[in-house]
Amino acid sequence: MNNVKDLLILMISSSLVSNVVLSQFLGLCPFLGVSKKVKTASSMGVAVIFVITLASAVAGVIYKFLLVPLKIEYLQTIVFILVIAALVQFVEMFLKKNSPGLYQALGVYLPLITTNCAVLGVALTNVQKEYGILKGIVNGFATALGFTIAIIILAGIREKTAYNDVPESFKGMPMVLLTAGLMAIAFCGFSGLL
């Protein structure tokens, strides 16, 4: 029971309190880039949840059963990035062949996530904080969930404000960044949660 409670707390803390984009600045590029429409943003979010959960599971297994026994933990960065890139490629091919529907929904976003720093960031955090495999997966899922929440909210705001009359220099990215900043302030409020 205690274990479940721990996992719940972990979920809340990694999805809301230390939100991956708004307080850790990981995965900022898709956050700013794919947040023009709610529809694309939510597809991206789902794809990110999918990839990060899977990647944190695979990275956890590899770390525990390959790197630690062989005492080559120092290779973690290299191994993780290659594993993640290969994994994404593999998942893409697998989906293309076996689940065209899902591929249709996620396909375009999968390769874009390969170089997303959030994926590698989660894998490394799991190692750094010495989470086990299960905890690592939960952390990965919660982090990705936080990313999805943030990107969908931002896309919603951007859809509403995209055509507001703002000073010319602030058009485009500066406005998005200001919005993100205000969102970050709002998310600071969650820090009282735990």
Partner: protein, 422 residues
């Protein structure tokens, strides 16, 4: 582009990296670490120097190996080389700069995915001699360090009243804490990009050539350059969706032929004029539905209408021809993606000149319209489930709308392409 010149001189490369193509201020690359580690000037400097070290070494090695690395596997090869140096730097910092390392934490290993490094490897080192590449890396790295230090100093100054841990502000100054917290990073960067935009606009007015995101090597994922024309995944999605939609078109004629062969399909055709109206004004589709009940009666007599059924999106009930039905199902979502664009394209057509001038301004209404039509078509699709007999007509009209939209979009794209070429 500078990459096409013969062996650039080291000093030219340094200046290029520091000022002309400053990765942060001009190219807007590597934004994640820029925001994350600039809580103080010292952290910014540490991160900048770590990145510089990796950038120099990876550029040098990649340039040396540029004739050995096959073109097709170059990206994985780059990543391995970069990751190696990142690991080396990480351990060096752990040993000699434990404080800075602790402050930077996870962002040091994350230098691997910093797009500046991969970007320079791809855009410069892979096609230039070692010495120039080395200095390119040094210049870029120093430019990055300079930018990070500046941003860090501003945030530290406003957020804590210090620079490099030395109190510089008078004691009456109340630190604006938020600037050292996460939101401050966004605000500082927003101000920075706004300044950049301002300068760009001024330069354009003065008739000077402005810098358009170079070195991005189409890695839009890792690129925060708003003005980059290659940007926006939405476009990519659409591009990918288009060819598939074309396939859907190709399959169209067959189904039409089937209908022609049917003697009783005439009844179906009777409704076509209305369908054309629908094409032009999708929102009015509702009115048509009222007329449909009549059509129902007609079609109950038409047993051959079943042959057309496999086209229905939800034709699972027709077990005999399920595979076909599945094909149609797969096409459906793609076509839907494209559909919402329809009204936009039409408006652009009618008001080409205006739209060109005020493209951005005319959009908000379009978005609403898009949503409306999209929802309506969805509703239609749902109601089709109920009125199965009338399906062929409905299906056809929906398909026609899609087809029409696609055609218009294609024309539009071509036109846009022409404009760009001009």
């Amino acid at each position: 582009m500078s990459t096409k010149k013969k062996a650039d001189s080291p000093i030219e490369r340094l200046g290029n990296g520091l000022f002309k193509e400053n990765p942060t201020f001009v190219l807007m690359l590597g934004m994640c670490p820029t925001l994350a580690v600039t809580t103080s000037a010292l952290n910014g400097l540490g991160m900048g120097l770590a990145t510089t070290a990796v950038l120099m070494m990876s550029n040098l090695i990649i340039s040396l190996l540029r004739k050995v690395i096959p073109n097709r596997v170059r990206i994985p090869a780059f990543i391995v080389i970069i990751a190696t140096f990142v690991t080396v730097v990480q351990f060096l910092m752990e040993a000699y700069l434990p404080d800075v390392n602790a402050a930077l934490g996870i962002y040091i290993p994350l230098i691997v995915v910093n797009c500046i490094i991969l970007g320079r490897a791809e855009a410069y080192a892979y096609s230039n001699p070692p010495i120039a590449s080395f200095f390119d890396g040094l210049g870029m790295g120093l430019g990055f360090s300079l930018a990070l230090t500046c941003i860090g100093a501003v945030r530290e100054l406003l957020g804590a009243g210090k620079i490099f841990d030395t109190v510089v502000m008078p004691s009456s100054f109340v630190p604006i804490n938020i600037f050292v917290l996460a939101p401050g990073a966004f605000f500082v960067l927003a101000a920075l990009t706004a300044l950049q935009n301002y300068i760009r606009i001024r330069m354009k007015k003065a008739g000077k050539k402005t810098h358009e995101g170079m070195g991005c090597n189409e890695d839009c994922m890792n690129c925060a350059d708003q003005s980059c024309s290659k940007r926006f995944y939405d476009d990519k999605t659409e591009k990918k969706a288009e060819p598939k939609a074309k396939d859907a078109k190709k399959e169209e004629p067959k189904t039409k032929e089937v209908k022609k062969e049917e003697p009783k399909a005439k009844e179906v055709k009777k409704e076509e004029p209305k369908a054309k109206d629908e094409k032009k004004e999708a929102p009015k589709a509702k009115d048509e539905k009222k007329e449909e009940p009549k059509a129902k009666d007609e079609k109950k007599e038409a047993p051959k209408a079943k042959e057309v059924k496999p086209e229905e999106p939800k034709a699972e009930e027709v077990k005999q021809e399920e595979p076909k039905a599945e094909e149609v199902k797969q096409e459906e979502p793609k076509a839907e993606e494209v559909k919402p664009e329809e009204p936009k394209v039409e408006e652009v057509k009618t008001e080409e000149v205006k739209a060109e001038a005020k493209k951005e301004d005319s959009r908000p209404e379009e978005i609403k319209k898009q949503e409306l039509t999209f929802e309506e078509i969805k509703k239609e699709a749902l109601s089709d489930e109920v009125k199965e007999e009338t399906q062929p007509v409905q299906e056809k009209t929906i398909r026609q709308i899609k087809e029409e939209a696609l055609r218009k979009r294609l024309q539009e794209k071509e036109r846009k392409g022409e404009k760009k070429d001009e």
